[in-house]
Structures are given as structure tokens and as C-alpha cells.
């Protein structure tokens, strides 16, 4: 599945992105365009900067250099209202990070109600529709600690979707799950991709990347060493480090 987006302007335009922690350059001069409808997967060895890259996109990490344009606006600019942009960039974490003191329903509605002035009825209608889609309507009044890992992650995805984001960022969404629960989360993500949701996904699920992605990136040592459509990426890797990485994981 490849798409030609070159005529559109990118939804996210990253130019010369750098991030240094004390003693380590986690990102070295990264430039990428993410287009509307892209399902971009990022793979690479642990510690290569995948999470840091994703977290720079919504400025959970403060970049130390370069610029990130989202909807044409430089979100690294100090005058931009990052909170508004974050509403349009859903993020799903490895550890779910649901709010344990709130019910599932409240987890889903607090954002739209407090930040987007939705009424309780509007927010709950949207939340109920999403819960139905992921098959968790019966858990709407449960607290997060009463849910399995797979259920928590599906709720976490719904929580982001409730904000009507333009892009969804996933940081190893299935890495903390027992194997039998991985599938239920991947199914939800697959559906999202089919609906042309723009997604940037960090994962170790190579089979899933190959199946769902339209673009796959290989990161190592804070750099993107290769980008390609999934079939070419996995069947004809060019970069030597990517070849040895794929040999070690497949």
C-alpha cells in the first residue's frame, strides 16, 4: 500500500530536529514529512531515539534544535499555544496512563468537557460510540484498575480519539501487554488505519508494521537511516544496520 502525497503539504513537517540529553544526543538532525492519512511506522533497536522523536512531536520532550511544523505552524515557537496543538495530536503510551481515580467514562469525557466545551451529553455520546466500537461498552463505569491490560490500552486509545485528533502517536502500545492481549489492541489500530487516520507508530510488531503501514522508518543512534514502503523495507533492506536489525528480530 503506497500513496502519493507529494502534491499535498505535510501535516507534520520536521526539519533538523535535535534533542540532546546531558551526555547523549538522542536525536541528530532529523527531517521528516508526515502527510494526512500516513500510517508511518518507526522501528529500530532500543535506545535509538524512537520515543524521544515521538515525544518531541507534541513537545512532551523539548527539542534542543530544529523545528516542527504542525498544520503549518511552528510548534517549537515559544509563542505558539502548545496545549491547543496537543488536543489535535492524540498520544498512546506503553503504560496506558489512564487516570486511576476516574471511571472509564470520566477518563474519556474530561478532555472534551474541560477543553472543548462539550456538554456532558455530547461527550458521553461520543465516548459511548467509541466504547462500542472497541467492544467495551459494559466497562464504562469501571475504574481502570478493574480492567485488563488490553482493555486499558483500548480505553486509552478511545480517550485520545474523544478529542477528535488529526494525528495519533503510538509509543509501543502493545509492549506492556500479555501476548494474548496484543491482538485486540492491534485490531483497533488496524481499523483506525483503514479509516485513514494519520498515525505515527513506534512498535516492535514487525508483521503488523508490514501489514498496516504505508511508510516504515528505521531509526538507529538518533538518526533515520532508511525509509521505504513496507514491502521494500522488509524484503529488500538497503542499509546494513537495518539488515542486521531485521535478522535479529524476524
Amino acid at each position: 500500500m503506497t500513496t502519493d502525497n507529494s502534491s499535498n503539504s505535510p501535516l507534520i513537517k520536521v526539519r533538523g530536529l535535535c534533542k540532546a540529553f546531558t551526555g547523549i544526543e538522542a536525536l541528530k538532525n532529523i527531517s521528516v514529512d508526515i502527510f494526512q492519512g500516513d500510517v508511518a511506522f518507526i522501528v529500530g533497536p532500543s535506545g535509538s531515539g524512537k520515543s524521544t522523536f515521538l515525544r518531541c512531536l507534541n513537545r512532551l520532550e523539548e527539542p534542543t534544535g530544529g523545528s516542527i511544523f504542525f498544520d503549518g505552524e511552528d510548534i517549537c515557537d515559544k509563542t505558539c499555544n502548545i496545549d491547543l496543538h496537543r488536543q489535535k495530536m492524540g498520544m498512546v503510551f506503553q503504560q496506558f496512563n489512564l487516570f486511576p481515580h476516574l471511571t472509564v467514562m470520566r477518563n474519556l469525557t474530561i478532555g472534551p468537557m474541560k477543553l472543548q466545551n462539550k456538554t456532558k451529553e455530547e461527550a458521553e455520546a461520543k465516548a459511548d460510540a467509541l466504547l462500542k466500537r472497541v467492544g467495551l461498552s459494559d466497562r464504562r463505569d469501571a475504574y481502570p484498575n478493574q480492567l485488563s491490560g488490553g482493555q486499558k490500552q483500548r480505553i486509552a486509545i478511545c480517550r485520545s480519539l474523544c478529542m477528535n485528533p488529526e494525528v495519533m502517536l503510538f509509543d509501543e502500545p502493545t509492549s506492556a501487554l500479555d501476548p494474548e492481549m496484543v491482538g485486540e489492541v492491534l485490531n483497533v489500530m488496524r481499523e483506525l488505519a483503514n479509516e485513514k487516520m494519520t498515525m505515527v507508530v513506534v512498535t516492535h510488531e514487525m508483521g503488523f508494521a508490514r501489514e498496516v503501514a504505508n511508510r516504515v522508518f528505521f531509526m538507529a543512534d538518533g538518526e533515520i537511516l532508511e525509509e521505504n514502503a513496507p514491502v521494500a523495507f522488509f524484503d529488500h533492506p538497503q542499509n546494513e544496520r537495518l539488515r542486521s536489525f531485521l535478522r535479529s528480530v524476524l
Binding site: N58, L60, D83, L84, H85, R86, Q87, M89, G90, M91, F93, Q95, N97, L98, F99, P100, H101, I110, G111, K114, L115, Y143, N145, Q146, R159, S160, M163
Partner: protein, 229 residues
Amino acid sequence: MSDLVNSFYQNFIEKDRYQYLLDGLKNTLIVTFFAVLIGIAIGFILAIIRSTYDNTKKLKILNFFANVYLTVIRGTPVVLQLLITYFVIFASVNISKLLVAIIAFGINSGAYVAEIIRSGINSIDRGQFEAGRSLGFSYAQTMIYFILPQALKNVLPALGNEFVVLLKETSVAGYIALQDLTKGADIIRSQTYSAFMPLVMAAAIYLVMVIAFDYLIKRLERRLRSSDH
């Protein structure tokens, strides 16, 4: 046995001496109650300043003064803080002793409450903060909706304990001749020359209040826990 009854009569009934205890108890409760309110207010503000500085390096100057305050208050005896408040700070002002005690104990308590709340904030997983921010909540909103509710729940026992400590600490209010429960008992002792009955009675009243308060806190804790399985 009749000795005890006699002593009880002499210390509490005769000349309505129980009034010393009642008035004292009233003052002790007033000072504790309002000092607790001030302590919570100060503690909250300081904890937020310190956590904000730790997380974002903002509020640098406020954080500096917060640290000075915490160091001084926690590093000096509360009796001296009370005496200094009364005889130095408010020396030339005509102000009720009750108010001085409320201010002094409130300021004292604020330092301890601040540390308790800060430890509660620190106990919350960083992912909670990131989840709030990633949805688009501001720093303050994330604190209010997600971090503080969980933090306060975690530190409820420690806060309860702080208020028990405060209730008992107000017993030094007699140093500025404020007639609290302890001072009331001591006045009776000085009139009847019997120490056992008034002092033990005052101690028993403190004890009952502390036990009752502990019970209330435990119940509240259970209630809060039941909403968080």
C-alpha cells in the same frame, strides 16, 4: 474512692472550675481549626511552588523563599515561633492572643503540610502528568484534575497525623498566656494545689479528641479507597 470523688468535686465542681477546662477546650479547638486551615492553604501553595520548580524550573525566586521558610520553620521550636510572633512581630500591635496563636501555629503547620503534599505529588507516576499534558491540559489543569486528587488521597494519613500533632502542639499556647485546655488545667492546679485530677483530665480530653479524629480519618480513607479499586 471518696478521696477521688472529693478531689473531683474540689477541682471541677467547686466554684465552677470546670469552666477553665471548657473555655480552654474551646480555645484549643479554635486555634487548631483555624491553624489547620491556614496550614493547608500555605502548604498547598508552597507544595505547588516547589513541585513546579522541580518539574519546570519556573518560579525560581518563589521557590527560593519557600525553601527559606521551610528551613526556618522546621529548624526552630514552635514555642519560640509563638513567642517571637507575640512578643516581637506583634509587640506593638494590640492583637488578641487567640489570633496570634492561630497565625503562629498556622504558619508552623504550613511548612509540614507543604512537605507532605509535595511528597504526595512526587509519588504520582510521571505518566499521569504526561497523559494530562498530551491531551491538551495545561500544567495547572493537569495538577488540579489529575495529580492533586491522587496525591491528596495518598497523603491523607500523613495529613491526619499532622493535625493530631498540631492539636497537641497548641498546648504550648500558655507561653503567651493564652488560656487553652492545658493552661486551663494548670490554672485549676494552681488554685486547688492538686495536680493529678486537672492534669489527667486535660490529658484524657486530648486523648479522646485524637482517637475520635483518627477514627474519622480512617473512615474517610476507606471511603476514598473504595472508589479506586
